[in-house]
Each structure stands twice: as C-alpha cells, then as structure tokens.
C-alpha cells in the first residue's frame, strides 16, 4: 500500500505520520500545492497547525490544491485518515460531519486516553446498517466494537460538536468511530465523541493521534491497528 501524507505550511506531525504509514507500506509526503496525489492508495491529513490555524483550525487548509484532490479521492472511495488538525480540516471541508471547538478548559492538553471503538452509550441507535458501515471502513476493519485502544491526545481545539439532530443521525448511521472512555473525555466533546467516519465509511477523522501510538518505546502501539486495518483491507 502506498500512503500519501499531506504537508501544509505549519504541519507538525507529518513526519510521525509518515513513519507510522511506512510501517504498513510505503509512504511519501504530498506538498499542499500539489493537485496530484501521485496514485497513492490512502491519504493521511496529519496533525499540526496548518497555516498557523489562524482564523479557525483547518479553515484555510481545506482550500489548498491538495485538499481539492483529496476530496475527489475520497469521493471515489479512497481511504482518508484525518488526525487532529487533519480531522479539523476534513470537517471544515465538509468531508466529515461536525466541527471542532476550543477545549472546554481552554488549555492545550497532551494526555494518554482510552478510546472505545464504536462505544455508543445508546446501542439501540446502532442500526444493522451502522454495523455494516463500520465493516466498510478500512481503518476500523480489524477493530471490534467495544474494544479499547490507548492513544494520546494533544490539542487545544478538539471539542467535537454537531447539532443534536445531526448527532442523532450520525449515531443512527453508525458513523461514530471512537468515543473517549467513560470519565476520560479531555475536552468536553459532545457525547464523548473522539472520531467519526463519513457515510461511506472510507473517511475517518479523529482527535487522538494513532501515529503517536505505533511504538512501545515512545508510548503505546494501539494506534498501529488503524494503519494495519487500512493496509489489510486493501490486500
């Protein structure tokens, strides 16, 4: 599998993402001004502060030529993973539902947290279609519903928000990929949502950093599961 990792001025975690991807295939950087993704099989929109995060996190990056290409790639079913600032960019671009706001405590937080996969507190909302949808999401392929992953967060604007009706809809469609484990919501996200997928399942965005959880030496290895999933789904 060949991964492309977007690089904007102000990206921070693009090398970390590159490293994580390279554990599950080949990986290369894609400069923000490039409209050509170079035939990659999967795209990571990495963390950082694209364009300084001025105006709003992710608001300017979504208009870059590379993001236009990513939108087309996603529309064609290509797997796209947005991490932290990348999640913000995907939301701003309308590829994922919702928005990310400043943390409730107004402080940047770097903390190891437990994520529960598809851990809907209202299981009755997870329709059979929702279940299938999760199976169609390449990044979640190897992860069972209810499984807990230990992955760090580090952000100042990670409070997930969507209007109530939208939340009900995305929950009903099984679009919630991860929730913070009970009592561990670090930022005030609604319904403890840490990550969501699009309706087709091929686009995943999350605030926690799976690319920083691929080596026991520097933390945990649970983040590798997402990259494995996408690489495995393709084989």
């Amino acid at each position: 599998m060949i991964w492309g990792v977007l690089q904007f001025p102000g990206s921070c975690d693009e090398r970390d993402a590159l490293h994580a991807c390279s554990l599950m295939g080949e990986a290369r950087l894609i400069w923000h001004e490039s409209r050509d993704l170079g035939g990659v099989d999967g795209v990571v929109v990495p963390g950082g502060f694209s364009y300084g995060d001025y105006l709003r996190a992710g608001a300017i990056a979504r208009f870059s030529p590379a993001m236009e290409a990513v939108a087309e790639f996603a529309a064609g079913g290509g797997p796209v993973l947005g991490i932290c600032n990348g999640f913000q960019v995907l939301c701003e671009a309308g590829l994922l539902p919702g928005a990310l706001l400043r943390n409730e405590e107004l402080r940047f937080l770097c903390r190891q947290v437990d994520l529960v996969a598809d851990g809907s507190p209202s299981p009755e909302l997870t329709t059979p279609e929702g279940g299938q949808l999760r199976k169609r999401s390449p990044f979640l392929a190897g992860i069972e519903s209810g499984e807990t992953l230990s992955i760090p967060v580090k952000h100042g604007e990670g409070r997930y928000y969507a209007p109530e009706e939208m939340l009900d809809e995305i929950e009903a469609r099984g679009q919630v990929a991860f929730r913070y484990a009970p009592g561990q919501n670090p930022n005030g996200s609604v319904r403890d949502i840490a990550g969501v997928i699009n309706e087709a399942g091929n686009v995943l965005g999350l605030m926690p950093h799976p690319e920083h959880a691929v080596d026991a030496l520097t933390g945990s290895i649970d983040g590798l599961r997402l990259f494995e999933g996408a690489a495995g789904a393709r084989v």
Binding site: A59, I60, A99, E105, L106, Y161, A162
Partner: protein
C-alpha cells in the same frame, strides 16, 4: 473600496468557554450584573464589491455550523 467589518460569534446555544471564563472573572474585579458574555472575533476588510461578503463569510470567515456572522459596511 468599501470598508466593512465582519463580526463572528459562537452560535446561540454553543458552549463558549472563553465567554464563561470572562464572566467568571468579573465578580473578582468588582463588576456586578453582567451576564451572557460571548467571545467572538472581528475581521476588518476593504472590499470592491461588498455583495461578495456574505459568500466569503459562509465559505471562509465563519463556520456556519458553529458560528453566526454579521456584516457591517462602514
């Protein structure tokens, strides 16, 4: 060129921790009777065609999901 000012603020009902923080600080400073503080931002600009501004706000300056905006031409 027409001067304009765009005021952007969190939508009604969205938790605004910045506003809350300001509100919490008020009593200690001796300000009583101030409530519903909302913190937003202001963009000043000059535009040839002020008619474009609404679209600019929808697309870039504000996120309509979470923010309201108000355009003031000066």
């Amino acid at each position: 060129m027409a001067k304009a000012r765009v005021l952007i603020r969190p939508k009604e009902g969205i938790l605004d921790p910045q506003g809350k923080a300001v509100e919490r600080a008020l009593p200690a400073l001796g300000f009583e009777g101030i409530e519903h503080v909302r913190v937003g931002r202001m963009v000043e600009l000059e535009a040839e065609d002020p008619e474009q501004l609404a679209e600019l706000c929808e697309k870039l300056l504000a996120n309509p999901l979470i923010e309201d905006y108000e355009i003031q031409t000066l």
